[in-house]
Symmetry: C2
Subunit: 281 residues, 2 copies
């Protein structure tokens, strides 16, 4: 368990940062935060979900610092908060892409003994402080990625931090993380955006029948935050290009089978896909 | 309201046919059914969801006949049940593709005065009699397609039939129906199968993180019945090839923007897709 005297510093008070603030302030921890959006900050202060701005945090006493911002904003924020980085008990993040972040940190010659990366699998198509909530992380998985010099005590603190939020951690290296999520999360989002873009060009859409055919669930992720996903696609560029290529080759196969009215092979293809999906849940 | 003396004949006792049987037998209608699967028929008889086989239906008294089978089985079943077709008060179906069915019927020179097409938007990734249920159609939409000679009284009976099941009908012509569902239902299923096929080829999948990132909802439709979807893709061939082409062109655009790290255009693309999705629900 984390000592109650440990302060929590949050850079970025969106869905993830806001939910951390709401959960930990309730548990009696002192929480300090920054955000570009003054309204989120004011709301959090009024609602007593944070105890002050990041600058109010007492740097001479122990604190955990977490960056929960869009991937491509990290560069600036690391520079702006350089002093805090060196003094924190543990620094972590909530970003969806890890390899560019690892390179960024190592390029900046930041001491990474107290630095470890986190990716809470608790995202939603609903973004922002307004949608953040206590218990967002309950029973969720957080993927942890160590940096080259991450110390054992940093690992322990990070695990305790997420355990306090109700989540379970598993460990994956940064390269593997980015390849894995390109396939299972980033590509599905890209597909949902592509499909919605395509359907938006139709002359007519019957709203009442649109949502009946399973399309509501299927396209829910297309409601996600554009800035967040723009950053993820660009920062995970190589992996994205690779999975788009693989996916298009699957589409090409299906297209050919339909063109040739090849019922037998089409049935085989669908059956393999169905069986695999059924095995996962 | 349909008179209680009107018998209900169901060809195909799967999710749709079974749910009709369960709802209407409860309401006191006599229901008769056929299915290739003897187990479904036996279960339905034991559970008193049907009153007998289709051959037990009294052809000399009024009845409604409904075909709820995979699209490409309709040809055979129309021939097998030719006598019933001419005697029924109203003949309809529950198929997901309409234009080939319309051509099929008109080629067979079937009198279509008592024939009208129905597509209940109540499908699910869970198929078969086992998953059928009373009230499946409650508050659902049924898309109705008239044939060239469909009479007004047939239209009325068909509307009453679906109203009895709790659904609301809307009318679309067959060509438009197939184009519309190619885009909003058949393509999403194809995409889900393609994505699952692709991910199934990965060396490793972490089940515990797989379902956390929105992928569970996104790929639910990949659990759908292979035979049903094989038939839909092949019978809606031209529309499928067209929508696959359009969808690939959207993917190509996104691929190019990622390749060029064009944040601005990428953000624009995603924002349009998101706004469109948000406008639909």
């Amino acid at each position: 368990m984390l000592d109650k005297s440990i302060q929590i510093g949050i850079v970025g008070l969106g869905l993830i940062g806001g939910s951390i603030a709401k959960t930990l302030s309730k548990k009696g921890y002192k929480v300090y935060a920054n955000d570009l959006d003054e309204k989120s900050l004011t709301n959090a202060l009024i609602e007593k979900k944070i105890d002050g701005l990041l600058e109010d945090l007492d740097q001479n006493n122990p604190f955990i610092l977490i960056f929960t911002i869009p991937v491509l904003s990290i560069d600036n924020e690391l520079i702006k908060n350089k002093q805090l980085l060196s003094k924190a008990l543990c620094v972590t993040d909530g970003l969806s892409v890890k390899d560019p972040l690892k390179i960024e940190i190592e390029d900046k010659k930041i001491n990474t003994e107290n630095f470890i990366l986190s990716h809470p699998i608790a995202g939603s198509e609903k973004s922002g402080y307004l949608n953040s909530k206590e218990n967002l992380f309950k029973d969720k998985i957080v993927v942890i990625t160590e940096l080259s010099d991450t110390s054992q005590s940093t690992k322990n603190i990070c695990n305790d931090f997420w355990a306090l939020l109700g989540a379970k951690t598993i460990q994956i290296n940064s390269e593997h993380h980015d390849k894995y999520f390109a396939k299972t999360s980033h590509l599905p989002h890209l597909i949902a955006f592509a499909l919605m873009s395509m359907i938006s060009k139709s002359k007519e859409t019957k709203k009442e029948i649109f949502t009946g055919g399973g399309l509501k669930d299927f396209t829910r992720i297309a409601s996600s935050d554009p800035k967040m996903w723009e950053d993820i696609f660009i920062s995970n560029q190589n992996n994205m290009l690779e999975v788009i290529k693989s996916f298009k080759s699957e589409l090409d196969q299906l297209e050919k089978l339909i063109e040739e009215s090849d019922s037998e092979e089409l049935n085989k293809f669908i059956t393999i896909a169905k069986k695999y999906r059924d095995s996962l849940v």
